[in-house]
Symmetry: C2
Subunit: 340 residues, 2 copies
Amino acid sequence: MGGVGIDDVARLAGVSTATVSRALRGLPEVRESTRARVRRAAAELNYVPSPSAASLASGRTRTIGLLTASFSRWFNRNVVEGAEERLRGAGFDVLLHAFDFAPDGSRAPIDMSTMRQRVDGMIVLGIPLSPEERLTLDNLNVPIVFVGTGPPDHVRVSMDDHDGSRIAIEHLAALGHRRIGQIGAKLPYDAHWSSASERHDGTVAALAALGIDYDDTLEAFGDYTQEGGRAAAAALLDAHPDMTALFAYSDEMAFGALEELRARGIRVPEDVSVVGIDGHELSGLIGLTTVAQDARAQGDAGASLLLEMIAGSNVGRDVRFPTALVDNGSTAPAPAVRAA
Amino acid sequence: MGGVGIDDVARLAGVSTATVSRALRGLPEVRESTRARVRRAAAELNYVPSPSAASLASGRTRTIGLLTASFSRWFNRNVVEGAEERLRGAGFDVLLHAFDFAPDGSRAPIDMSTMRQRVDGMIVLGIPLSPEERLTLDNLNVPIVFVGTGPPDHVRVSMDDHDGSRIAIEHLAALGHRRIGQIGAKLPYDAHWSSASERHDGTVAALAALGIDYDDTLEAFGDYTQEGGRAAAAALLDAHPDMTALFAYSDEMAFGALEELRARGIRVPEDVSVVGIDGHELSGLIGLTTVAQDARAQGDAGASLLLEMIAGSNVGRDVRFPTALVDNGSTAPAPAVRAA
DNA sequence: TTGTACGCGTTATCAG
DNA sequence: CTGATAACGCGTACAA
C-alpha cells in the first residue's frame, strides 16, 4: 500500500525498471504491447512514481512557482485560476507563494531562493520587484513569465495598459469632463514598467491628445485596495471641489471611491462620474462603468508561454490583451455641460 | 552557482556532510560554534538544499496540498490566504489544486493520487467529496483537515452553520417576516454534512422554534454562484409572489438575488428583505445585510491544526467559528406589518 | 526495443 | 558531539 516501487511494477510486468519508467512516461521507443502490460501492472499495484526521486534523477520537477500578492485583488485571483488550470492540464503542479502588503503599502522583501530546485519555471503576478528580488528570481535559473506587471527585459503578459487609459479618458472627455481625478498606485520598487506606471502614462498621453492640461494634483494613490481608493477619492474631493470625474486604475479602488462619494452625499453619475478598470464581476450590480480586461485569459496565456519556454521555445517578449469599455451607468455628461 | 551541494559546504566548513545537514536543520546535537561555521560556509556558497533529495531521504516533503473550488468564491479565496500565510510561516510550501464546477453544477472526479508522496498533509476546502474521492484522499496516508465542509469522521474547521441560519432567520422573523425564501445549494455528493446541509437544517430548526411552518417550495438552489443565486431568486419570486424575504446561504448568491430583484423593479428592503452569509468586503457598498464569518481565520486555524497533526498531536474533531449579523440595510419590517 | 548499472543530493543509522 | 556510509526511488547513458 505505501511502498510500491518501480521494481514491483517491473517484476509484475516481467520487464526491467527502465522499461517501466519509459512505458509510463509515454516515451516512443516502447512497444505498445509492452506498454500496455506495464500500464496494467502499475494500475493493479496502484503505483504512483515518487516525484522526489524523479526530480532528483531527472533534474525536472514538473512544478511551477506562482508568486502573487493577495487574492483580495480581483486581477490576481483570476490570473491564478487561469494559470493553474492550464498548468495542471499540462501535468504541472503549482506551488503557491502569496504575500501581503502592509497597511502602509510596504512589504517584506521576497526571497525566492527557497524555490531553488523546486520549480521548473516561475510566474510572477502583478507586483514590481526590487533589484535584489529580481536577482533571487533570476538565480533560480528557470524561465520566468510576468503577468500584469513586468520588467522590460522579461517575458510579460498584460492588458494594454496604455490603451485602457485612453479608452477611459476619451469616454469621459466625450461627456464633457475636463477636471478628471485619477486614483493610481505608487507601489514600492516601481521602476516605471508597472501597470500603474503605464496606466498613468496612458492617461497623461490621452489628456494631451485631447488638449486637456495635465494637473498632477489631480492624481492620488490608492495602491489597488478598496480602502486606498476611498482615501484617495477623499483627498481628491477635498482638494478639487470642481472635479467632475474620477478614473481609478482598478475596480476595487473605484468601489472605494463610490463609498466615499456616497458618504459625502455626492451623486454618481449626476455630480461625479466614475470609471474603473477590470470588469469585476460585481461592477454590474454596483453600477460601475469599467474598462474590462480578461484576467483569466492572461493567466492562461502566461502559463502557456511558460510551458513553451520550458520546452525550449524562444517566445516573444510581450503579449498584450485588449480591453473594452463596459458602461454600467456610473458616467454621465459633466455637470457644467448639462447646465449649458 | 548551479551545483553547490552539501559536500561543498562540508568541505569549506571542514566538517562532514552529516554535520552540515544537522547544523542547517537546527538539530540540537551540534556544537554552536560548529553550527555557526557551517552556516557561514553555506551562506558564502549560497547553498540551498535540494528539496527532492531531502524528501527522498527523509520521506517528508514540507509541502501541504490545498484542494479548493474556484477562487470566484469569497470563502475559498479567503481561507486559502489564511492557510497559505500560516503554512509558509511554518516553512511549508503550498501545492495548489483548484477545480471548477461545470455550468450545470457537476464536476469531474478529483484524483488525489497525484499528490501521493508530494505532500505531508492536505487541506480540503468547501466541497463535498464522493466516496471514491475520499478514498483517494485517505490513501495519501497523510493528515487531512477539511475547512468549510467536511465529513463527520475527519477534522473540520468551519463557521457555526446551524447558528448562522438561526441568526438570519430570527432577524427576519423579528421584523415580521413569515414567508421567507431560502437560496441554498445542492452540490454533488452532499451526504448531509456540508455547510449547505447544515445551513438548511439550521433554517428549518429556527423556523420551527419560531412556530413558522417550513415550506420546502420556498427553497431553491443557487450552488454558491452569483448567477445561481439570481436564477434561484427568480424561481422563488415566480412561485411565491407573497414572499417578503430572502435568505441566501452566501453573499454572492444574495448579490445575484439583488440583481434579479432590481431587474423586476422590486424594492429592497421595502418590498423584499434580503440576508446573506459571509461578510463579503462589498456587502457594505452594495448594502447587503449579512451573517459575517471570518474565513481567513478559518484558513489559519485549519493550517495550524494540520501542522499539529503532522507533528503527531491528536487534535479534536471540530472547530467552529462564531458569526455575527452585520446590518447593511437590506432588511426592513415585512410589508404586511408595515401596512398594519 | 529492452536491460544493466550508475548517479542524483540528501537523511539517518551506527560507530566512534 | 561528529564522521562514514547505506539507503531513498527513480532517470538515463550505455550496452545489447
